[in-house]
Symmetry: C2
């Protein structure tokens, strides 16, 4: 009767267990190991590197995602702020205060240059990933505020309207996005809050989203987590170890578009409300048919084990496909989508209740890819048209951002190659 397994450190969830298995629990500060994919829960990931951290970094357990509107038209002021942001991000990801004086080290007659709520907390695997939205290149009134319209990548084309979309513009879009992931929500919240503080007068928070229990593993060192429909999520995800696949599906190549994006990746976010009360009343058999996998193991309905390949041709006794034609597994699979794949990195969310007696909960979908036009748009079109899951979900927010490659030198800064 005791079905729930005991894997290890709960605070760190499944990732903690993986770390524990590797004997890597750190009780005191350790120097980051730049070439390892597995961070201990207290440790720090390097800020500088060929790629931005937070994409193939093994998904941490907590998210604070924030989309900002740029409220100045002054390019120099914006570039200034991006330099300040970079310095703060480089510090915070290493477990340090946002500013050089810190929360309590500066003048008593000035506001501190760190807000203090992370004072006693370690780096906690914090990563900060920046992306630039379409409206930064040309705002909603069509104005090229910063003279960068010509640098807009074709792949950063506005997403189309999908069937069944019920998007709320107030929590969609944004000029700049920062994804903060960490093992401790207080650390992720602290990072976003300090960037917002530093950006005062230049940017304003458009929308922000907290998440937990990352719904997709991004490394084979991680146990596959579960989404709020109770199913394993991330089984067939692109993984950090699949370097050839990442090269094909995740990273932007030289020649794909403008140089400043070479080595970067495109980010699509979708807030997907789950009608969990309706789902909870549906039969186990129906849930499994909808997903195309079994709930316990996560195996395709044609297999036994989680990582078995699905057999889309298999039929049951009545000549019906075992993996239904409108199942999420079939419709999201590369075979149905011209080979398109994604690196998913979403999180579960609960935003309190909705005033109608229900929890306001769902999936904050995060997908990284080389070209959204061929990947997210392709897959979401298949899903939006036919997916049996649609009865139980509503897309309420959408975001699209171009995430440049990583910074290699300490005098480089976020957006330099775009604005310089």
């Amino acid at each position: 009767m005791q079905r729930r397994k005991v894997l290890g450190l709960a605070g760190a969830g499944a990732a903690g267990a993986a770390v524990a298995g590797a004997g890597a629990i750190a009780l005191t500060h350790r120097e980051p190991k730049p070439d390892t994919l597995v961070s201990d829960t207290a440790g720090a990931y390097p800020f500088y590197g060929e790629r931005q951290a937070g994409i193939i970094t093994p998904a941490q357990d907590r998210l604070h995602f924030c989309a900002f509107d740029v409220i100045t038209d002054d390019k120099a002021a914006l570039v200034d702020m991006l330099q300040d942001w970079t310095a703060a991000a480089a510090r915070m990801t290493q477990g340090r205060d946002a500013g050089t004086f810190g929360a309590v080290g500066g003048s008593m007659q000035a506001p501190p240059d760190d807000t203090g709520e992370a004072l006693d907390l370690p780096a906690s695997g914090l990563t900060l990933t920046i992306g630039f939205g379409p409206t930064l290149f040309r705002d909603v009134r069509g104005k090229d505020r910063f003279g960068i319209a010509a640098k807009r990548p074709a792949a950063l084309a506005d997403l189309p309207n999908f069937p069944r979309d019920t998007l709320d513009p107030a929590i969609s879009g944004g000029d700049i996005a920062v994804q903060a992931c960490a093992h401790d929500p207080q650390v992720a919240v602290h990072a976003i809050r300090n960037l917002a503080r530093i950006g005062m007068g230049k940017v304003s928070v458009r929308w922000s989203q907290l998440g937990f229990g990352r719904t997709s593993s991004t490394s084979r060192s991680q146990v596959t987590p579960r989404n709020l429909f109770g199913f394993k999520d991330g089984t067939r995800n692109l993984k950090a170890e699949d370097t050839a696949l990442l090269d094909e599906h995740l990273w932007v190549h030289s020649g794909d578009g403008p140089d400043w994006m070479t080595g970067g990746s495109y980010l699509v976010t979708r807030k997907v409300r789950m009608l969990i009360e309706t789902w909870d009343r549906s039969m186990l058999a129906e849930q499994q048919t909808i997903i195309g996998r079994d709930k316990g193991e996560g195996a395709p309905l044609t297999g036994k084990l989680e990582h078995d390949e699905p057999d889309f041709k298999a039929e049951d006794g009545e000549g019906q496909p075992v993996i239904a034609v409108d199942s999420h597994l079939r419709l999201a699979h590369a075979d149905q989508n011209n080979g398109a794949r994604l690196l998913r990195r979403g999180y579960n969310y609960v935003d309190g209740s909705d005033g109608l007696g229900r929890l306001n909960a769902g999936l904050f979908f995060i997908g990284y890819q080389r070209d959204p036009r061929k990947q997210f748009v392709q897959i979401q079109n298949s899903l939006a048209k036919l997916d049996a899951l649609n009865e139980y979900i509503r897309h309420t927010s959408s975001g699209l951002f171009a995430c440049p490659p990583g910074l290699l030198a300490a005098d480089d800064y976020w957006g330099r190659s775009l604005f310089a």
Copy 2:
């Protein structure tokens, strides 16, 4: 320059460090130690006991608080549900599925009796604490739906309107509250969601709140955490180890009111929005004057160390009190409040942004006490009138609940002594 300390396991925050210090990290399941106050992050607290767990239990790092409206007038149906809730709570707090079949063990042609998202997760220190609100005894139309009006304790008197209150009734009150605390938010969310599922048709979610980074330590084994104003919070809290003080200020005595509450405690919740952008622009000196403590160490302005006693009589060179007359420390202190004290157990929250470019963040205050009339009401009246902090905060939600003592036997259930 590196001010942020590295204490230990980030996922578990400061509590993890305390646990680690005690050499108590568990990588595999361990039997709960009923008489210890420190749980490892994976372990389980006993469900049965003289007191409800979740009050003096060392504050776990994550919260999902839920207030329910009872939507049936049928007492038997409600009692039935409370029995089902108790059975589910006893299971879930021990890391088991909510129902006897579990997420995947039942009939394929029925909805599962567990929603599945905690399938691979350990107990994670989950506690579930129940409380009954004033409207359960007499609803808003004055009706005694369940024939228990005579059992309403005098101490469960509706809270008065306090100066400056800006409460939203939609996220205040409630007939029944359940406080779920755990080291993993997915486990806390799973617990509330399954209680809501079990209660379908009998209760409906009125409001719910997620929180993190508990803002008050409740045990001397814990490092004092920080709230979103960056100050240590919980220094002068009642602690689990202070048994004589708990007896005086926390637990309801026989003779205090109706028998069913003897050994229980009263819970007040207040959602306090923090205007963090305004706070972040104020000087360090001003912040410290407002709180009455220094930001780094958390010492009273008249002392050096966090746990030094404040000296309210001390004056500076100009004859002004060192701890200002309108400081939070002075106004909240027992000496200013007829000796009243509280066991605080609040959490930080961030509910996204507010549509005006600001993070929607603050403190979800949770206070337990023997008699709210003499404790919370007394202290909040002092604060609401004079506290310099008021410029930076807004109270937006309020809740009051009577939390009975713990259950001792497996055939007992939540509310039996109230309804039987």
